[in-house]
C-alpha cells in the first residue's frame, strides 16, 4: 500500500499541471452555475421586483423570514415534510442494503442481471409519468382495491385519506428508488476482500454470520457516507412526487414545504418569500451535514470529509 501511495504522489508531482487542468472545468462549472447565481439569495431580504432586479429592489431585512414563521400552516407542513423525508431516508437505506446483500447471493448470472435491470427501471421514469401509474393502481376503483375487494375487503381511499397518503408517498418512492440505490451497495460488496469470506468459512460461519460479520462491516463506510450525504435532504420530501399525487383533501398530511411554498409563493408571484424558504432549507441542510459528520467523527472515529 505504502509503495503504491508513493508512486501516485510521484506521478502527481510530475504531471501537476495536467491534474490541475482536469479539475478546472469542474471548478468553472461550479463557479458559473452554483456560485454566481448565489447573489440571487439577496432576494430573500428584499421586496423583490423583477423589473428592478436584485440590485434595484428595496431591502426589507428579515420581514419574509418573520412572515414564514407566522404562516398558519407552517408547523403542520414542516411536520409532514420531516415525517415523509425521514421515513423515505430510513427505508431508502435499509431496503437497498438488504436487496444488495440478497442479490449478491444469487449465483446464476443471468437471473441476477435481469433482476437488477428490472428494479433499476422505475428510477429513470419521471414522477409525471409514474404518478398516473400510481393513481391508476391506487384510486378507489384501481387495481389494488379490486384485489382487496376480491378478498372481501373494503376499498381503501389511498389518495384521499390523510392516514394512508403519506405512507403511499413513502412506499412508492422506495419502490421507485431502491433498485437504483442498491448499485452502490453492490459495488461496495464486491470491494470486500474475498479472503475474509474464506477465513469465515474456515471458521465454520453460516451465511447469516458471514453477512453480519463480514459483509455489513465492509459496507459500513459506504452506508455512513451515503447517509451523511442524505441528511441535508431532510427538508426535501420530493416536490415532483407530492405535486403530482396530492390534492386538497390530503393537504393536512401530504403538503410538504416545497409544495406549500410553491402554491403560496410562486403562484402568488411572491418570489422573495420562496427564496427565503429556500435559504432557510439550505442553511438547515448545511448545519445538518456538518453536524452529522462531527457526530460520526466523535462516535465512530471516521471522518467523511
Amino acid at each position: 500500500m505504502e509503495i503504491q501511495h508513493k508512486k501516485i504522489k510521484k506521478r502527481v508531482t510530475r504531471n501537476e499541471l495536467l491534474f490541475i487542468a482536469m479539475v478546472i472545468p469542474g471548478i468553472v462549472f461550479l463557479l458559473i452555475f452554483s456560485y454566481a447565481p448565489m447573489y440571487g439569495l439577496l432576494m430573500a431580504f428584499q421586496d423583490y421586483i423583477p423589473a428592478k432586479g436584485v440590485f434595484g429592489s428595496k431591502f426589507v431585512g428579515l420581514e419574509h423570514f418573520q412572515y414564514i414563521l407566522k404562516l398558519p400552516d407552517i408547523a403542520q407542513v414542516t411536520k409532514n415534510t420531516l415525517y415523509i423525508a425521514i421515513m423515505k431516508m430510513i427505508f431508502n437505506t435499509v431496503l437497498p442494503i438488504t436487496f444488495a446483500i440478497l442479490l449478491n447471493e444469487i449465483r446464476v448470472l443471468w437471473v441476477k442481471k435481469s433482476v437488477q435491470t428490472i428494479v433499476y427501471l422505475p428510477h429513470f421514469l419521471s414522477w409525471v409519468v409514474l404518478a398516473s401509474v400510481v393513481v391508476n393502481l391506487f384510486n378507489l376503483d384501481g387495481t389494488i382495491n379490486q384485489i382487496l375487494n376480491q378478498f372481501g375487503l373494503s376499498s381503501l381511499n389511498f389518495l384521499g385519506s390523510n392516514q394512508l397518503f403519506p405512507n403511499l408517498l413513502i412506499g412508492t418512492d422506495v419502490w421507485k428508488e431502491f433498485g437504483y440505490s442498491s448499485i452502490v451497495y453492490l459495488a461496495a460488496i464486491t470491494s470486500i476482500d474475498p479472503g475474509l469470506y474464506e477465513a469465515a468459512t474456515m471458521d465454520g460461519a453460516t451465511w447469516i454470520r458471514k453477512v453480519w460479520h463480514v459483509t455489513l462491516p465492509g459496507m459500513l463506510p459506504f452506508i455512513l457516507l451515503l447517509t451523511i450525504l442524505n441528511v441535508p435532504n431532510i427538508l426535501n420530501a420530493g416536490f415532483d412526487q407530492v405535486y403530482n399525487l396530492y390534492s386538497p383533501i390530503v393537504y393536512k398530511s401530504g403538503d410538504v414545504l416545497d409544495t406549500y411554498i410553491y402554491r403560496i409563493g410562486l403562484i402568488g408571484r411572491q418570489y422573495s418569500l420562496g427564496t427565503a424558504v429556500g435559504l432557510v432549507k439550505s442553511v438547515i441542510g448545511l448545519v445538518l451535514i456538518f453536524g452529522s459528520n462531527k457526530f460520526v467523527e466523535k462516535k465512530m472515529n471516521r471522518v467523511m470529509f
Binding site: 499541471l17 487542468a21 478546472i24 472545468p25 468553472v28 458559473i32 421586483i49 423583477p50 423589473a51 428592478k52 432586479g53 404562516l71 398558519p72 400552516d73 384510486n139 378507489l140 376503483d141 381511499n157 389518495l159 384521499g160 390534492s247 386538497p248 383533501i249 390530503v250 393537504y251 393536512k252 402554491r263 403560496i264 410562486l266 403562484i267 402568488g268 408571484r269 411572491q270 418570489y271
Partner: protein
Amino acid sequence: MGKMRKFLIGFVVLSSALLVTGCGGGKETKNAKGDLIVTIGRQTIQNSKLPKGDTYENNAYTKLVEKKLGVELKSTFEANGEDYDRQVSLAIASGDMPDLMVVNSYDELKELVDNDLIEDLTNYYDKNASKNIKEIYESYDSIPLKEATFDDKLMAIPGTSVDDGPGLVWIRKDWLDKLGIKLDADGNGAITLEELKATAKTFVDKNPDNVAKPVGLALNYWLAATGYGNSTFTSSTIMHSFGAFPRYYLADKSGKVYYGSTTNETKKALTYLKSWYDEGLLDPQFGTRTFDDITAMLINGETGIAPGPWHLPGWNLSQVKESNPEADFVPYAIENQNGDGKINATSDKGAGSFIVVKKGFAHPELALKIVNLIYDKVPNSDNIQKEYPDLYKYSQLDVDGTARPFNVEIYDANSGIEDSVQIADAVDGKININDLTKPTDKTLAQSIKKVVDNPKDPDINDWNKYITTYVARAKTMAIPRELGILNEIVPPKFHGIKALEKNGAQLTKLEEETFIKFVTGEESLANFDQFIANWKKQGGSDVLKEMQKVQDSSDK
C-alpha cells in the same frame, strides 16, 4: 505555463460567450422575406382542431397577419390552460417577456404596470384602433378600457367579457330519453335541485351505459369559482340557487363588503352537497379528481351530468360525442331553492383578459393592428368565404379560438344572447338567413340548420354550434331573460387589494381544504363558524377592510 494560461483564458471566454448569447438584446429581427419577427406568448388547448399540418405558429391566422401586416409571429412559449399563467409568471419573473402577450388577470397586469414592464398604449389606441373596435368598447360603457387604465394611461388592450346569464347543468339527453325522464315541464329553461337529484339517482340506479361504477355527479375540488367560464365541473350553479355566491366579494344593501364563501347561504349549500355525498350521488372520490378525470368519466359514460358554461360542448363535451356519437346533451339552469321561481346568476361585465406590449418593443401599434384585423376586418367582411377562405374553412372545422394570435374575445356587449336568438329565428325560418347582418352569424345559422333539418349523426362541428348557440343560448339562456325571472347579482370590482396578494393563496387553501372536509363529512358543518373565524384570522379581515375602503370611496 504560457500554454496553460492561454488554455484557461480560452476556456473562460468560451463559457462566458455561451452564457451571454442566452440573453439576447432588444433589436429588431427580420426573417428571410424581410418581415418583422414579433414574439408572442400563446395559450393553447389540447384539442385545437387545427387542420393537419397547421401549428400555433403557422396557421391561417398567422399567415393572414404575415400577409396583411408583414409580421411573422413566433411563439416565445406555448402552454395549455393553467400552465399558460405559470409561463406568464415566469416570463415576468425572468424579465424575458415576449413582445406581445395576453395576461389573464388584473393582478398580473397591475404588477406589469407597477414594474414598468409594458408600454403605454393610450396614443396608439386613439390613433390605430378602428371605429368598430372603439364602438365595441363603448357598448360596455368603456368599463373594460377603464379597467386597463392606470393614471389616465391605457396600459393594455382589454379582452371583453360578455354578460352571460345563468350557469348551466348539462345532462345526457339520450339517457333521459332512454329512461323516460321528463324535465322542465313548465318550459322556463330551468329545473329544480330536486329534479336534478332525482335524475342523478336514476342515472346511478339504472346505469344506462352499463359501467362498473356509475357516478351521479362529479365535481372539481375547488367547488366554486368566479367568472362564468370557470364554472366547469363546479357546484357554482347549485350554490347560486341557494343565494350563495362563494368566492365572490360582494356588497350588501348598506354597502358593507362581505365574502360570499362565509355566508349562511353557503353553509346551507354545503350542507345540501353533503347530503348528495352521503347518499352516494356525489362522486365518492370527490376531492382527488382532476379536471381530466372528470372529462374521462363523461367520455366513458360513468357520469351523465356536467355543470359548466354554455360553451362547454365546444371544447369538452364534443370529445364525449366524438367517442360516442349516440351521446347527446341538454342544458338546464337551476331554479332557486327558496321557491321564488327565479334563477340567480352573476353578471360580471368588463375585461376578461389583457393584451400587453413589452416595454421597449419598437412597434406597439402592431397589437392594435392585429386586433383590428382579427376582430373587425375579418368578422365584418362582406364575404368571408371569398376574402378569407382559410379562415372560413377554420370556422367550418370549428377550430378553437386559441388559434388566433391572442386568445381573447372582443365582442359587442349586446352580441351574445341577442345574436343567438336572431340566429335561432333564422334557423327556424322566422327571418331569412341572408337578413342576418353579421357574416359570421350567417355561417353559424347555415351550420345549425344542417343539424336541425337532419338531426341523425350530425357533423361534430355543426353539432357544437347547434348545441351551444341554438340550444343553450337562444333557448335555455334567453328564456329566463324573456320571462323576467333572471336575478342577476353584480359584484363590485376590487382591484389590486394588497392583503389579497399577500394572503390570497393561503385563504384559498384554507377554503378548499375545509369545504372538501365539510362535504365529505370529515369535519362537521357545525364548525362552519370556526371556518369563518379562521378565515378572518388568516388575513380575511384585512382583505375585507381594504375592500371596504375601496367600496366607500367609490360610493361618494
